[in-house]
């Protein structure tokens, strides 16, 4: 389930245990990687939220028995956009469309099922591929708005 690196002009791949402690690390690492592109500080904050949601989902839901690993791939596409992929080998999501709707959550806790809403709002493109037992792969793409404006001139 790895991205073909030849389609990216640059990339970094990392793996870490699915632990709450690693959520902050993942979003900070993604923001550092993304800061090489022409993102505004606001956009970098949006990227941090999106990564936090994807990784938190994997931490909370992928491995009910604990002990799982999350793989995060950070890439720059040929068009200069940021491509983020968060992959787990966990239990998967039976109904991805339902999971993407606001207020949906599998646990009666204080999270609101807003994770996918934030990912969708803050990134240009969100793709979720999941099957029960086969893990979940979240792919998000975002291009710097500034660069798009400059390129249109």
């Amino acid at each position: 389930m790895t991205t073909a690196p030849e389609r990216l002009v640059n990339y970094v791949t990392m793996e870490f245990p699915a632990e709450p402690d690693n959520v902050a690390f993942a979003r900070t690492a993604a923001a550092v990687f993304a800061s090489r592109l022409d993102f505004t500080l606001d956009e970098l904050d949006e990227i941090k939220v999106a990564v936090s949601e994807a990784v938190s989902n994997a931490v909370l839901h992928a491995y009910p028995g604990g002990g799982g690993v999350i793989r995060m791939e950070l890439g720059v596409t040929g068009g200069g956009a940021l491509k983020l992929t968060v992959i787990d080998d966990g239990v998967g999501i039976a109904d991805v469309d339902a999971a993407r709707r606001p207020q949906w959550t599998t646990r009666p806790d204080e999270r609101m099922g807003l994770g996918f809403t934030f990912m969708q709002e803050y990134m240009d493109k969100l793709d979720v591929v999941s099957r029960p037992g086969a893990g979940t792969r979240v792919v998000m793409v975002k291009a710097p708005a500034r660069a798009a404006v400059a390129g249109a001139r």
């Binding site: 959520v23 806790d109 999270r111 807003l114």
Partner: protein, 119 residues
Amino acid sequence: MLIATRRSQDSLIVRMTGELDLRTAELFRSEVRRAWEAPPRPRHLILDLRGLTFIDSAGVGAILARCRDVSHSTAGRVVAFGTRPHVHRTLAMAGAWRVMHVAATQREALAVAKGEGSA
């Protein structure tokens, strides 16, 4: 995440410094509950968010749960002040400003809690 609590008349002021996410939401929940239950019970909750540099859905959920607690226990107000633009926007996207008041300063927040402000 650092949580500091203090009282001002019938308001509990909670100052949050750092990032509110899946990991730190539990500290926020337990610190606010502990301070809220210390007698004499406060009526309103003021959130000083000047130092809050990051929030995601887990953080938003933790804040909205406190709004429910306040609403159920005292029917008081929850007022936030000092939100950074991106924190403000994420809270807005979750509909948080429908249940929480917003103020520019702590003084204004205390006035809004007492029902003297416009917000």
